[in-house]
């Protein structure tokens, strides 16, 4: 059997029934998007060939970075387009089913759950926020204003040369720790403020510099599920925070709206 189904996402049947998908890009650039309805829901798929998306082929392809990059972006573009057309439970890159029968089985098992989830997600958007900090300013602030540090400095100035060296090192370490604490409390506060505007939040991994390619530390990485009506308020709160934090090295990046990847993850029971 040569035909597999690449699953992009699940939508409510009513929302996609009369929509036109034939002009849309697909992951293989050959076959068209198909909508397979089941009960209240509909799966948005496109057929792919075993020769390109079979398990063994994928094992090789997923190690070819240009292939991963190209297809991951394509997946992203397609999902962005679908998201504009209907409320969507987005699937992750390379969610592939072996046959239509297999898809139907899956839909049969989860249709009710999915329909409820889609109702819940309707009118909501996912926004991602990354908070960066250039620790220079905070370091200065801590070094100059922290009461313990002033005291410690005076103590050190009375010590012998060798002792001074060691104690200064220790002090630098202490300052770094204080900076991290400052960063954490800033992030916690701002996250709490934003959470009030959101339906749900999903904390994500904080990446190190080799991943971000930035000079600043990434201090916070989180997805927010926001009611469309609250989005403007949320964004202006981000703008305000950006302006206020600039002088202390803060920089907030917000991206979106994304397909709601972080708020429609399949539960364990759904997977099995």
């Amino acid at each position: 059997m040569a035909r597999l189904l690449y699953l992009y996402g699940i939508a409510l049947k009513d929302e996609v029934e009369d929509k036109e998908f034939s002009q849309m890009k697909t992951i293989d650039g050959k076959n068209n998007v198909e909508v397979i309805a089941y009960g209240e829901c509909a799966a948005i798929v496109s057929p792919v060939e075993v020769e390109e998306f079979g398990e063994e082929v994928l094992e090789v392809k997923t190690n070819q970075m240009d292939w991963v990059q190209e297809k991951a972006y394509l997946h992203h573009e397609i999902l962005m387009e679908l998201k504009e057309m209907a409320t969507l439970i987005p699937m992750k890159f390379c969610t592939i089913l072996e046959s239509e029968t297999s898809l139907e089985k899956k839909m049969d098992a989860h249709e009710t759950e999915w329909a409820i989830l889609l109702q819940k997600l309707s009118g909501k958007e996912e926004w991602n926020v990354k908070i960066y900090n250039h620790p220079g300013q905070l370091k200065e602030q801590v070094a100059e204003h922290h009461p313990d540090i002033q005291k410690k400095r005076e103590e050190i100035s009375q010590m012998s040369k060798g002792m001074q060296y060691l104690q200064k090192k220790k002090l630098d370490q202490f300052i770094d720790e204080q900076v991290v604490q400052e960063q954490q409390s800033y992030v916690n506060q701002i996250h709490r403020d934003w959470s009030d505007l959101c339906e749900e939040t999903a904390e994500k991994k904080v990446w190190n510099k080799s991943v971000t390619g930035k000079e600043e530390d990434m201090c916070w990485n989180c997805a927010y599920l926001i009611d469309k009506e609250q989005v403007e308020k949320f964004l202006s709160s981000v703008t305000k925070a950006n302006e206020e934090g600039e002088s202390t090295g803060w920089h907030i990046e917000v991206t979106g709206p994304w397909p709601v990847y972080h708020f429609s993850t399949l539960s364990k029971s759904e997977v099995e």
């Binding site: 998306f53 991951a72 992203h76 990046e253 991206t255 990847y261």
Partner: protein, 104 residues
């Protein structure tokens, strides 16, 4: 404030961390093992960065390097063959002329 809509050039991390599943894609029937997002991002970024940067500073030598570029290699060989042919012809003509001179 920058509302960045994810595009090809500026948000490799953003796109990958959202569309890639952690490790293995579990929702489908086909098992797809992916390296973790961190590693993939670093790898992809290295490719993008090295190609762009190299071009930026005029290091596009591989486009004409016969070992790296077969097209360049082909056109190179062709040119050499042509030159060879022309030189051969000139030698032949010179030899002919020499022979004629001696025979006189």
């Amino acid at each position: 404030m920058s509302i960045e809509h994810p595009t090809q050039s500026n948000s490799i991390v953003d796109v990958l961390e959202t569309v890639l599943d952690k490790g293995v894609v579990i929702a489908g029937d086909i098992r797809v093992g992916l390296a973790d997002v961190e590693l993939l991002t670093i790898k992809i970024r290295l490719i993008v960065a090295s190609v762009d940067k190299a071009k930026e500073i005029g290091m596009d030598w591989w486009e004409t390097d016969p070992y790296l570029n077969s097209k360049a290699a082909e056109s190179n060989t062709e040119a050499l063959e042509k030159e060879n042919e022309q030189l051969q012809k000139r030698i032949e003509q010179l030899e002919k002329k020499m022979n004629q001179t001696y025979e006189r």
